[in-house]
Every structure is written in C-alpha cells, then in structure tokens.
Amino acid sequence: MARIAAFFATVALVLGGVAALDWWVDPFDDRYDPAPLAAALAQPRPCFVGWDVFSTRAWPELKLDYFRRRDARVVVVGTSRAGKIGALPGELQFANLNVPGTGPETLAPLFRRLHSMGHGRLTVYLSVESFWFGRGWRTQASFTHSYLRSTKYLLSTQTLHATLDELRQAPGAIRHPRALRAWGIFRRRGGRCVVSRGNTVLAGAGNTWAPDGELWYNEEVTGAPRPHGQPIAALEHGGYVGSRLDPGRVDALEDALAVARGYGWRVVGTSLPYSDYWRVRLARDSATRGVVTAFARRMPGLFARYGFRFLDLTNVRSVPCGAHSFSRFDGGHPDVACARKIRRLLDAAAAS
C-alpha cells in the first residue's frame, strides 16, 4: 500500500507544483488584479482602463469590481451593444457591466453575485439580444467561478509552456511575475488618462473601459477617425439562424428574471437599435426571420410575466436616433448620443 500511496502522492506533488508555478506566473493573466482599476478610479478625474491590461477571461471579475467600487445601484447588463449606456452627469452609483459574449446563461449567476455583494435593491437595464436564441450562438461570458476551468488552465500544456517561456526569457519573473506586464497611467495632453500597458491605447491600439464601465472604442478615446467595423449582424449571423427561439436559452433568461424578481429588483428589458438596413434584412432573410420575429413577439410578454417592462427599441426611430447613430458604421452598436436617449427611456420605464 505504501507504493500506491507513493504513486498518488507524487502525482499530487508534481501536479500541485505545476499548478502553483502557473498560478504564480499566470502567463495569460487569468487571475484578476484589482490594482489597475483602483488606480484608474482613484485619479481626480478617473481614467479609462485599456483592454490590454486584463485578459478577456478576467473581464467578468473586472466588471464586478466596477460594481463594487462604484457602490452601484443602477446597472446595465448585456453584450457590447449595450456598451455605451452610461452614467448620467454626476451619477456615481451606476455601473455598466456589459461584457462581450454575454448570453442568457450569464445572467442568473451574475445576478446572484451582484446580490451577494449587498448593494440592496438594484435597477437593472437588461439588454436582450435576438441572436442569443438562434442555433449558432455560444455564450462566452461567465460569472460563475469554475474550479474545473481553473484546474484545466493551471494544468494545461499551453499555460506551462508560456510560464516556462516567460521564465526562460526573464528569470527574474519568478520573483516579480507581474513586472513583465506592468501597467501605467498615460495622459493625453489636456485630455483623458488611460491605464494601460505602455502607451498602446493613446498610440491608437486597443479599446477601453470607461470609468463607469462603458465600452469606449479606441477612436472614441483618442479622437481618431471612425474605422469601418464588421457589422454585428454579420458577425453574429449564426446566432440569428433558426426557426424558433432556443427553449434552453429562453429557460435561462426566465431563470434570471425569476432570480431578479426574488431579490425585489426593478428590471427593464430592452432590445437595442439596429440600422434600418440590418433590421430589415434580418427580418426578411428566410434563415433569420424565424428567430427575429419570434423574439420580438415573445419578449414583452415574457418580461411582463415577471412584472418587468420590456422596451423594443430595435427600430432606431423608436428612440429616436439617427440612421447613422452607430459606432464604427457597424449598424449595431448605438453611439454615445443615441445611448443617452436610450438611457432616458430606460429611466422613464423604470420609474413608471
């Protein structure tokens, strides 16, 4: 029996050693570091945070940190399409928790974690997407802590290779692992400041999170000309495809609404605008028509069943915003001016 014990003890020791080394060096920034956001918000005029500071896997924790530090009572939840719905002038207790890749499965765990932070009764502006309910959609953002996922990360070949590469190139990283990925506060003369690695954001590379959690594209921070982005409806086309709403995802959304109602929160659901071209095209295309029309028909009733309102703002004129009120000409991400109007509509719906 001593040999069997020795075998498993060695396995545990080696795996534990690898996991500890990978955890310490953390070559892909899997662990969330609160220091950059703390520094950004501690400035007299709070700074933006560059996307290069955190890995995408750390975004959910970053957003929860925004929520915590701003002591938020009003939050926006959704994908990047909700990224511009921001705080009103002087409004402190607000956080935009949008994370690209958010889907129905993201919501209930997120709500539970928000509730566990004890901010009391929240007002949630929930941006729901028709592409969440089609065949090709894959929810990526997760606020659930998964030990299995962490274990796989810590015990993966790729992580170990990256750790060893980093240590080979910079042996000192074993003592100061984050030194290689140091961040700083960079200021534009007379303008905004950004926390980023090097001066990358102000030099024109990488998007940012605004001090209230909004998503600001690089050109919106630097003032560079708007580039042409890939239209969201084309990017997520597979998500719209299907003849009916995916019942599992509808269940996940209902679970989240039930959780919110259980906490006594006020939720306003909304479907954000598309450019006329994409709205019409999605509604007419035989591949996407089924999901898009079923979504429009079903959502108001579904939210109403839990005592919540739903604003269908898919038509850009219902806000009203201009035909080109979109970031990057992509026809799916309302710009700052349009998002302000949307915020007023959401506030009115929440107050009624």
Partner: protein, 463 residues
C-alpha cells in the same frame, strides 16, 4: 471515452475501481463492470451500446446453437449463419459507404450518372468505434465453440463481460474467450503487486501516448500535410516519425488496456513486443498487433489452406489474408495496398529464405524496418497523389530537401532508444518495483496529465 481524458481519469476510472472493490460477490462485480462498460461505450454515442448488445446476442446465441447441434452439416450451417449475422453489422457500418461509393463511380463511368441516391444514403452511415474489434472477438468465440476449443458459455453475463469489458472494447487487444473465461469464474481478491503493476503499466502507456506519440504526431502531421514539398530528408523524417508515432500510440493504448485490466485482476493478452526489432517481416507480425495477426492466422490463413497446399497457394493465401487484414483497418484502397504490401513481404521472405543467405542481424533488422516504414506510406496517406509524393520524396526524386526540425530528430532519437534499448513495458516486473521507482512513474504520469489537453485521438480508434 478516451483513456487519455479528464473524464476517464478523474471520474470514470476511480468510480469503477471503487465500485468493483466495494462489491463482495463475483456476479455483482460482473454486472457492475458490464454496466460500466456500456456507459463507457455510450459516452461516444448513445446508440452504440444497442449495436454492441445486438452483436453480443447474435454471437452468444450462435455459440449456444452450434454447441447444441450434433449433425456436422447443420453445425457448419449454424456457424456460417452466426458469423454472417455478426459480420453483417461490421460490413454495413464499415464497408457500405466504400462499396456504394466505388459502385457509383463504376456505374458513372458506364452511364455517366452513377448512383447518387445510394451514395447519399451510405454517406450518412457513421462508423461505431470498436466494432471491428468486438466483431472479431465474437467470431473467434463462435469458431472456437464449433471447433471444441472452448466450452460453450451458458452464462450471458460472463459473455457480455467478454465482449464489452471496457479496457479492450475500443481498440483491443482482440481477446479470445478461452483466455478470459477462467478469469471470470473466480472471485478476485485485491493483490497489491498486481494492482501496482496495472497502475504503472497504465501510466507508462499514457506517457508513451501523450509524451512520445503525440509529440511526434504534431511534427510529422505538419510535414505530411504538404507531401509534395518533401525532399529526401523530409519524407524519411516524416515517415520514420509516423512509424514511431503509430507504434507508441497503439502500444501505449495496449499498455493502458493491459494495465486497467490488471487493476481489476484480469490479464489480457499482450499486443506488441518492440516490433521494429524484427529481423524479418514474419517476425515483425509476431511482434506487431499480435492479437490481430494471430487471429488472421487462426481464422483466415489456416482455414484458407495455409501452407499446406503448395507454394503458389500459400503465397495467394498470404496475399488474401494480409489484404483482408489491411481492409479490416479501414474501407480504403490504401489499406488494401498496405495489407498486400505486407502479404508480398511475407511471401517474398519465404522465397528468399530458401536461398540460404546469411544476413547480419543488424542489417536484417534495418532492412525490415525500412520495408515496414515504406508500407506505412500506404497506411498514412489516403490519396494516390499523396502516396506518390511521399514515395517520390523517399526515393530522392524531389531532391534532398531540408533536414527535419531538431525537435523531431530529438524525438526520433529518444523513440529509437526506447525501441532498441529497452524491452516492451508489459515485460517489466512492475509488481515488484520499489517506492522510488513507483514514485518516478507517478511523476511521469503527472507530466502526461499536464499534456492531456493537447493530446490527440488514438489512431486505432477509427478502425
């Protein structure tokens, strides 16, 4: 489910071992392992177990009917029907698409239209993993009962265990019922030496698969992805790499299967014995996939007449046996050519040996290895163009080209040291190993676990 997966290592195996040793009656253990094996198989696809149950029922009933019948002609007829029933599943799932595709192409040459609806129908057929292996086991049982080599099994549970036992279910070794049956009759009491031996053999197999075969595969796949660009060095580097890859992949799997079985007190037949040490093609087949080669010998070559009917007939039998053995691996002309290549080598060896030449052992081993490696070209490359490209590269028709990467050369050197410097792992007296050696294998297993997420499927899973 793959042996080299988190689900198997972290959940399935610990649960099976715990359940097995918690049960104190042999019948309950058999039921438990059969159920676990069906769950293991269902992990690949939910309908696979139904197919295996069908094959099990047909061959079990066939064995019972053959044993009950006294009239020789009717016995033979029952055997033929039983084998046909068992084989029908394999033929349908494995060869229908191949036959329909080629028939359609043939008809298309004549009529210009082909058989599109038949082709479309057969293209939807999915090949159930492991079917080639358990079909051969079921056939060998019926033939053994017919020949009187094993007594008929009247207990369906023991027979279901024989077919479904998860360590050998997916990719062998191909077990004969006579080998397994006595081990199923006794209640196995935990033996620490045997358990340690199983644990270590499993770990060594995992390391062979993950740390050697898969690491070589990454490099050779890159080279063989564009065979037209390979020069002399590149094509030989790639094919030598593949020769080692397929050996370490399949023998690693076999070691894992043997090790798993040992953990529950069952000894399965070994499958490999450092095959590239062979000094002749004949010896190669006594070291490579031995449970298949002995099956082909006992149930195909000898019934065809073996070497008892003259030289010409013997050569034809060798070609037929090895050609069918090639087709057993997959429904493709390249597998058929691979089998015929080996049939030709075996027949050629018989003729050359009559010349009485004395070849130094090193030279004979090298020549055999080179011939086997050339054969792997047919096995690895699917299209005639790719086969021509690689063979052209190996003969220098595309120039000398660049040397393979240093990493690949290092891996090939390490593989060669293991091949010619160390005996096959199942021969090691692992049960008697001391604590430091056991711990060293534990460390190796842990490193293999870290490499699991970049691992590849076992090559023989698709056969």
């Amino acid at each position: 489910m793959l042996f080299n997966s988190y689900a198997f290592l972290g959940v399935f195996l610990p649960a099976v071992l715990a359940g097995f040793y918690a049960l104190r009656r042999q019948a309950l253990r058999l039921v438990f392992v059969v159920v676990a094996s069906y769950v293991f198989y269902a992990y690949s696809a939910l309908w696979f177990p139904a197919l295996m149950a069908g094959s099990t029922a047909i061959s079990f009933a066939g064995g019972r009917l053959v044993a009950a019948e006294r009239d020789p002609r009717r016995r033979k007829l029952i055997l033929a029907v039983g084998i046909a029933g068992t084989l029908a599943l394999l033929l349908y799932f494995k060869y229908a698409q191949f036959v329909a595709g080629n028939a359609s192409s043939f008809v298309s040459v004549i009529t210009g239209r082909g058989l599109p609806s038949l082709k479309a129908f057969t293209e939807g057929i999915a090949l159930p993993v492991g079917i080639s292996f358990y079909t051969f086991e079921a056939i060998s049982y019926q033939v053994d009962v017919y020949r009187g080599d094993v007594p008929v099994e009247r207990n369906p549970l023991r027979y279901a265990f024989f077919i479904s036992f998860f360590p050998h279910l997916i990719a062998g070794p191909i077990v004969r019922y006579g080998k397994l049956e006595p081990q199923l009759r006794r209640f196995y009491r935990f033996d620490v030496d045997l358990f340690v031996s199983g644990l270590l053999l499993f770990s060594l197999g995992l390391a062979k698969k993950v740390l050697v075969a898969d690491q070589i595969a990454v490099r050779t796949d890159r080279l063989l992805g564009s065979p037209g660009q390979l020069g002399l060095f590149g094509s030989w580097g790639a094919m030598l790499g593949y020769a080692f890859q397929i050996y370490f992949d399949f023998s690693g799997y076999s070691d894992m299967a043997l090790g798993l079985a040992r953990m529950v007190g069952i000894e399965l037949p070994w499958n490999f014995d450092r095959p590239y040490r062979a000094r002749s093609p004949r010896e190669f087949w006594r070291r490579w996939h031995v449970t298949l080669s002995s099956w082909l010998r006992d149930y195909l070559y000898i019934p065809l007449g073996g070497n008892r009917k003259g030289e010409l007939r013997r050569d034809a039998n060798l070609l037929a046996t090895m050609g069918l053995g090639g087709l057993w691996h997959g429904a493709s002309f390249s597998f058929l050519f691979w089998g015929l290549w080996h049939g030709g080598l075996l027949a050629g060896q018989r003729h050359v040996s009559k010349l009485g030449l004395r070849v130094p052992a090193v030279l004979a081993t090298a020549a055999t290895f080179v011939l086997v490696t050339i054969g792997w070209v047919f096995f690895r490359m699917r299209s005639p163009g790719a086969i021509r490209d690689v063979l052209g590269g190996m003969t220098g028709l595309h120039g000398v080209g660049a040397l393979p990467s240093r990493t690949l050369l290092g891996l090939l050197s390490a593989a060669a040291v293991l091949m010619w410097g160390v005996p096959e792992e199942w021969r090691w007296r692992l049960g008697g190993w001391s604590v430091p050696r056991v711990a060293a294998v534990g460390a190796l297993a842990a490193v293999a676990v870290v490499f699991l997420n970049s691992t590849q499927r076992f090559i023989y899973f698709k056969f």
